[in-house]
Symmetry: C2
Subunit: 197 residues, 2 copies
Amino acid sequence: MTKTVRTNTDPFQFHYPAGATIVTSRGRGKDNAMSVAWHTAASRKPTIYLVSISPKRYTYDLIVESGEFVVNFMPRDQGDLVAMVAGCSGRDVDKFKEFRIVSNPGSKVGAAVLETAFAAYECKLMGRHTYGDHDLFVGEVVAVQWEASAFDANLTHDVENVPPLMYLGEDRYGTSVGSDYLDREELVKAARQGSSV
Amino acid sequence: MTKTVRTNTDPFQFHYPAGATIVTSRGRGKDNAMSVAWHTAASRKPTIYLVSISPKRYTYDLIVESGEFVVNFMPRDQGDLVAMVAGCSGRDVDKFKEFRIVSNPGSKVGAAVLETAFAAYECKLMGRHTYGDHDLFVGEVVAVQWEASAFDANLTHDVENVPPLMYLGEDRYGTSVGSDYLDREELVKAARQGSSV
């Protein structure tokens, strides 16, 4: 297959789907929420997670001021909430009140853990780095919360029981299915035997 | 629902599924490949993408030395390749030869763009930050390559035509389905009307 090549990278959504999250923060007397699809794990021990946020966002100010945030991983049935949270700013509205978001404060941070999230990472800000039009907010994961029904005995996501919400770009959303086990060592062994024939 | 709370965050895979990628690098006379599930966009203009890589990996040395890498986004039918690439080190084997990986050099970088990737970001290293047991490798996306059949007219991923490979942790893989349009502005409007009744 011949690939299209372009150095003008707009619209920059070739990397989706990505898990749809709501990042919560708390400050100036209220909770705020922001939909974020740019996020990743950064370290296993200690556990570190990062989100990328534009300085234009109200959440940006609240995390800088509080040094805390929570990454809430959202199931498919919360697509409307994720889209609504993305559709307005905490500067203009109290999203928790407007959208009747049910939550509790984190166990280790003040930012909110959403009732409908299937998992949440409570983070304390370790570092911030400006790259282009966003900043990386790097957080130590000081506590994890999760819904038992969303995970199997190995704490791997059971996507059949609690389908996750995946973001595709351009206000499009889907979910993830399947959980095939691929034995890396067996596959390598088989490939080597095959290539030596 | 009552969430389980834990400050011991092991096994740290509550954030999956994530898109399965193969990060390629080139140096010391050969191409190398590594499976990476820790990656995210960092900026739209300029386009910046990052991957998180352990200093234990051979890819780590090659990116530090070359200042270049490619993030290859893999379709579901390449699960075996992603697992095999994850199952051995470029220090021990030539993965491109061993697994008969078909590729071309990038248009702007020397690292390889895989024939079977549905999209690829060619990156030049802008910055590197150590966090815990991994480093963030932050790259300016100097070129994008993609398979036209994997995207619709808006360049949104057509997951029905080319299903992506999603990583779930613990050597488990699935894919992503669905592409529902959620109109954020309409949803906000409806919620506000509802809450004022």
